[in-house]
Subunit: 876 residues, 2 copies
């Protein structure tokens, strides 16, 4: 079947997604399990890739194949193209392997021309409907296939309504629409220099081409990049006979989920419009009605729909998102797909499906995208702050979460504001795929129009971004850049807050708080913890972080950065004096001031963590990072040290470096000024000895950063152990402790066998390992790494996802060499990658003992770790 | 013989150096070939290491063994300790495996006490001599064994001379000395609380201990560090019966070389003193006489000495440095060792020895330290002028040579002074690429900051220009245009002299001498070239450098840095306009101006190199390095671009980076601005096509810097080949060319298999590979790397000598992976290490095809490459 590019629905199945696209495969599957699907066929994704390979031309054999299927279609339906009685009309839709909602093009009512419009009028007995369809088709075809601006047609429609003194399209008569059709055709001729094509085959050919081409429209490219969809997959084209939801009151159209996509509740959830086409629901022009109302309006149809929905869910073993149309009292299913859902719903559904016996726990775990858990952990507005917050309006709770930010009306303004590090809310009448980049950059999205399945709502949920949609109480003027809400005027740059869980919109900024995690979440995470092998720790520098980490299930602290403590207001003066001291005595005096504060830090952190392991990294950044740059601060410091301004300025200048990332930092500082680490180690050990009196047995893990050579480690370790022995003597007591090192310098990875001899544990610092392995400064590489991704030199920035071929290879070397020297050396990761699912999978694969990440990513890491086990088992 | 710690001279041999030390082994060897050596024995280095292991105590078995040998000695000489007639007197000397002249301790005349002093007087018939010896012994023993300051004794001597109204020690009578001896003993008692030990065995025991302990005196430790001598070898102790050169006019002592150590001339060269002890020669108190005068004074002794010297040279097959003493008309040899010599003499001696049939060519090659060749190629300060020169400070010997000139602080001032035909020294805090023209115009460069691989050092070495870097003892104020060095102030226009071989900085002008390259040098280098396998290329950026490289025997250019050409006065304006252009068109216009200049550069370089291969590296440094920093320069550039000052300032600020070393440079620039490399490649290819008309077939090797991922290489290569194809079309002609890459990013080494698929050659950029492998910024690490070496964390800075365990391992990986993908990939090195002998040996060992280094290091590299072959063959 090498050269077969077209498949009837009855020839396909849901397993043929790669070839037929998601929509095509599901249409075929639904057809084959006996659900009422309007007949049609699918042109494969392989045809699309061939189309691009051959210079974007449709080849004759493809057209021949399409023709054969058209004939079949005509025969099975008893309809033909350009028929005056009962014409064949088609929808032409894109359908890629991965869902890309609204990103690509669709053409409806294809086949309408000056003859078949009359046939449609006859067959439906509704001339007005026929001409309205013809009008819509011309506009859609002109827009999608020929690129003629919609506004050219819309203004004619507006003119006509004005001329007739009516407000709604539906108030125009068949005659009005007939005239409009002629005007539309004239516009088409003006734009194209050719008449509107009357030949349906010609229409179809141009439409197929347009759908293929829409694979590479800019918004589709952006969407694929955002969603990690490969660019070379191509889209299928689904050609399907039309059914009409706008044939009167026994017709309608809708979208429904088999379970609630926000809460996961096992109850059909959806919306429909009577006497409307599908686009009306999606566009949110009319406010749709809840699916439950259909029960009263058309009980039989409702029953049939519910039965079909249940059948689909059982068949697919997952919650389905179904599009349907009722044509003159007959139900048609136009599409089914796995329904998008909030993470909250996803967890509830996954747990319910397991309990319903439909799927296994393992399947449930694999269904949740770990990154989505993030949403669960996002803050909500604090109850009591809400009480005093001024409500502006209420819209639909389209995507959960809470966000405050400055109001902007255009995606580009949002992007610019983001560069200024402003938090923003994108406010639009309704969003369109063109707004994608603004949606990514904004904290939240507010639209005045559109329902729960509008573009804004669907896309925001996918992103896990807070969204309030269809907030009809506000008026958005994006020209004047104002929101009007009753008496209230909100200008660009004003702060608002939106609650995607309640749909409320508030004036100003509202204080946020942490969410509570549901019982299903806990059950789910228990399953996760049963399966995973990797331990999950958190990077936490404060008792507050440590507490949060424990709440999220952290099994220890993998990275406690002592330098963050140095920046506190009460400490920075002593830190600065310590740094600019020109003698060991002066430095020691400043360190003596810091000691009790550091000891208290550690004491509190130990307390928060109970007896969970705590890895404390000794001072890492270059000292000059702590020094003041403002004149007044320099003066203050100079005064406190009896130096004059210029002297101190000189010292600061002396400490500055050309490449601070590769400069005097980490263990290098400890080699020059051993007294700094000695103070820190003393604080660590004293705090552990002190807390033992409260019954906690702490085994501190002391981590030395930036080791590149085993001799550095030996030297620093010597110093540290000497100090620890002193403390033990003073306390006349001792405790167990470990000394380990970061593996973050490439040379450390390469010589890990030597280093392991001196280290109880390794913790991979993949941020620095990436910086030095690639030679990319994180601070400077942004400007060219974006270009690398755009030019497809890299798929992802190596700072986001571990570069397995390079940095990963260094890690593997270090693991192998380290274990060769010390079989039971404890291995972890504490770089940013420790909270990124694909990197966590890699850490599992190379056999690390734990990952450590920010507290908010701990649940994500737990799930990713469990999935890594399952993927390994299933070899996926 | 596990527990044998003492060897008589007749029990040892020259092969037992590790056990007996150099001196002991040679004394044994001389004894055994029948030369007149005063009898004695050697306590082994193993005894010394056991001494340190056992808490610095002499164990009884050792003392017993010493006693046995003492008895033997007494028997063979017919002398005994504390004998009133003919007492046994001993010298006790250190003797380590490697020569450490004057670093450790020696005690002479051991055995003298109140009784044996009379015996000595009797046996020599010279009471004065006996008491003088006793006096000296007490002082030496007190100093060396007990740590009593010499001044305590010397002041008594001075008092005595004053009292007696005499100027010289020799004018004191036996009676005076007798009194002095009593006074010395009193001082000893005062200091030690015990009388001066009269028991010779006790004296010997304390002396052996003192010699062992002197292994770890501070100056010995420093010397070992400077000369790469391991700390754990320990010293042997040679106990030898005394002979006296101060027993009247038929006695004497001297030092002689079997050949001239300065010129290599095959004629005994040395000095002696009549009626003196060896220490008098070394101390230089009396002016010694030339050895040739001995012929007249004591013809028989002279003949015997010459015969012995010849015998020794033939026996050791190398020029010897011999100590001798004549006691009452009898010759004794006290020591022989391989004589130190200038590189000039070394080459002449090596060649002569080969021609005399004493050694093979291979042996001759192994005898020359490649680093020493450097001296042959640069002027040096005249020895005797140096003696009177005032030392200002000492910095790092960054680039060899000697230079005197007027001090200037700015490159532009240097250039102007050069126009006035002044000789100048550029003095900077540290240099930057902006200083290049000043560096070219100056005689030498002095910087207060930066290490051996700082910008100043690297560039100066490349130019063969004298440079002292990192001279932290001076403060450079380039605003006030002064150098402060302690009390001293040096103003602009004052003369200083710098020695890039020693790091010394002198006030005023010091007379220089030019080296001459002898015929023997050429002969020697021919042998070198016959043996070596590694090719040697030069790093050369200009036709002048290229010519110099060819003179020194370079077989091609391994690194032609195109950026250095960008700094010339006639180019920098266009370069700057190119950089700050905000459109491709403007940038292209600036590049169009640069094209003919670059083409001419390459044309001239090809011409200078004949058909030798030339590797040209495309633009490497971050663009901001080319931008002006001074207000007037910014203004000038702004004017030329119709920008105002602030606009341009903003652009410059925008381009600056936090860590430029890891920033937007190398191939990363080419990915953002492909037109830059396109211009350069066009110039390379056009020049090669042009020069073909002159009959030269050039096969350019185009090298892309900073590749970390094969996709970077693919992208840039694509662009380059496109441009080359354009040039071929325009010329209607084509040539062969290669495209390769630097391996300087750790990730490139790790993924070299992938990269090799796209590269014709690899050139290791070990400077960057070291920077990124260790995470040490070359510009910043100077301040802590010095400390690393002092604290013995590193033996050598990895920027000086390739770090085999880490950076070297990366290189080996790259070689293996590269060859696995492409069997015949051409491999070289162009980092600074390419001119460092031990690194060159490593390059040979891992199978590189060539090394490339600065022209002035080419002869060094050639020799090191040959030695690598020999060492491999001999497995040393």
């Amino acid at each position: 079947m090498k050269n077969k590019y077209v498949y009837s629905f009855h020839e396909g199945s849901k397993e043929m997604k790669a070839l037929l696209g998601g929509k095509g495969a599901n249409l075929a599957e639904m057809t084959n399990i006996g659900l009422p699907v309007p007949p049609g066929f699918t042109i494969t994704t392989k045809a699309c890739t061939r189309f691009y390979k051959e210079g974007q031309i449709l080849w004759q054999e493809l057209l021949d194949e399409v023709n054969i299927h058209l004939k079949e279609l005509e025969q099975s339906l008893g309809k033909t193209f350009s028929n005056e009685e009962n014409p064949l009309l088609l929808s032409v839709r894109s359908g890629s392997v991965y869902s890309m909602p609204g990103m690509m093009d669709t053409i409806l009512n294809l086949g309408l021309n000056d003859i078949s419009v009359e046939g449609l009028a006859k067959s439906t007995g509704n001339q007005r409907f026929a001409y309205d369809s013809y009008r819509r088709f011309i506009q859609m075809f002109a827009d999608v296939a020929m690129g003629i601006p919609k506004i050219r047609f819309e203004s004619l429609l507006e003119d006509k309504k004005e001329e007739k003194g009516v407000a709604l399209d539906t108030e125009l008569t068949a005659e009005d629409l007939k005239i409009l059709v002629e005007e539309y055709k004239k516009v088409y001729y003006e734009e194209e220099g050719e008449p509107f094509p009357q030949e349906p085959i010609e229409q179809l050919k141009l439409s197929i081409k347009a759908v293929f081409e829409s694979w590479n429209n800019p918004r589709a490219i952006v969407y694929r990049k955002l969603n990690d969809i490969p660019d070379d997959l191509g889209t299928a084209v689904n050609v399907q006979s039309m059914v009409f939801g706008n044939m009167g009151d026994m017709s309608g159209t809708g979208v429904a989920f088999t379970r609630n996509p926000a809460s996961g509740e096992n109850k059909i959830f959806g919306e429909f419009l009577i006497n409307a086409q599908g686009e009306d629901v999606v566009a949110g022009v009319r406010t749709p009605r809840s699916i439950s109302e259909l029960k009263d309006l058309m009980p039989e149809i409702y029953e049939e729909f519910v039965a079909s929905a249940n059948k689909l869910e059982k068949h697919y073993k997952d919650m389905q998102d179904i599009e349907f149309t009722i044509e003159k009292g007959k139900l048609y299913l136009l599409q089914t797909r796995t329904g998008k859902r909030t993470i909250h719903a996803a967890i509830n559904i996954a747990v319910d499906l397991v309990e319903e016996g439909l799927i296994s726990k393992e399947e449930a775990l694999l269904r949740i995208d770990p990154n989505q858990l993030d949403q669960l952990l996002h803050p909500t507005f604090e109850e009591k702050s809400l009480k005093s917050a001024k409500i502006i309006a209420k819209g639909l709770p389209a995507s959960p979460g809470a966000a405050s930010g400055k109001v902007y009306f255009h995606a580009s303004d949002i992007v610019e504001a983001k560069e200024r590090e402003e938090k923003t809310i994108l406010v639009r009448q309704e969003t369109s795929p063109e707004d994608i980049e603004g949606m990514v950059a904004a904290e939240g999205i507010l639209t005045a129009r559109g329902g729960m399945t509008s573009h804004a709502a669907v896309v925001a949920r996918g992103m896990g971004k807070c969204c309030v949609a269809g907030c009809s109480e506000i008026r958005v003027d994006d020209e004047m850049k104002v929101i009007k809400a009753g008496e209230l005027t909100i200008n660009e740059g004003d702060y608002i807050s939106i609650d995607g869980g309640s749909g409320m919109v508030y004036l100003g900024q509202v204080k946020k708080e942490q969410p509570e995690l549901s019982g299903n979440f806990e059950k789910f995470m228990d399953w996760v913890d049963d399966i995973r092998i990797l331990k999950v720790r958190a990077n936490a520098d404060t008792p507050r972080d440590a507490k949060q980490a424990v709440i999220f299930g952290a099994e220890g602290i993998g990275l406690c950065r002592t330098e963050h403590m140095f920046f506190a207001d009460d400490r920075i003066p002593a830190v600065r004096r310590m740094i600019v001291s020109n003698s060991v005595e002066l430095r020691q005096r400043a360190l003596d001031e810091l000691l009790p504060m550091q000891r208290k830090d550690f004491f509190e952190i130990y307390k928060a963590m109970g007896e969970r392991p705590v890895t404390i990294r000794l001072l890492d950044p270059p000292l000059h990072e702590f020094l003041p740059s403002k004149v007044e601060d320099i003066n203050k410091l100079a005064d406190s040290m009896n130096l004059d301004y210029e002297e101190l300025k000189d010292i600061i200048r002396e400490l500055s470096e050309v490449n601070p990332m590769l400069g005097h930092r980490g263990c290098r500082i400890a080699i020059t000024f051993p007294e700094i680490y000695r103070m820190q180690v003393r604080a660590i050990i004293e705090a552990a000895l002190d807390i033992r009196k409260e019954g906690l047995n702490i085994v501190p893990e002391i981590m030395i950063p930036l080791i590149g050579d085993v001799n550095e480690l030996k030297y620093v370790k010597n110093e540290i152990i000497e100090e620890i022995e002193l403390v033990f003597m003073e306390y006349n007591d001792s405790i167990e402790y470990f000394i380990g090192t970061m593996i973050e310098v490439p040379r450390a990875a390469i010589t890990a066998d030597e280093i392991a001899k001196e280290a109880d544990f390794f913790s991979f610092g993949t941020n620095d390992l990436t910086q030095m392995g690639f030679g990319y400064s994180r601070d400077d590489s942004g400007k060219f790494l974006n270009e690398y991704v755009e030019k497809e030199i890299f798929k992802k920035s190596p700072f986001e996802v571990i570069d397995r071929a390079g940095v990963g290879k260094l890690m593997e070397m270090a693991v192998d060499l380290g274990r060769k020297s010390k079989k039971d050396i404890h291995l972890g990761i504490c770089g940013e990658h420790g909270g990124e699912p694909s990197s966590i999978e890699f850490c599992h694969d190379i056999g690390l003992d734990y990952v450590s990440c920010s507290p908010y990513r701990v649940p994500i890491a737990r799930l990713a770790a469990a999935q890594a086990v399952l993927k390994e088992k299933l070899n996926i």
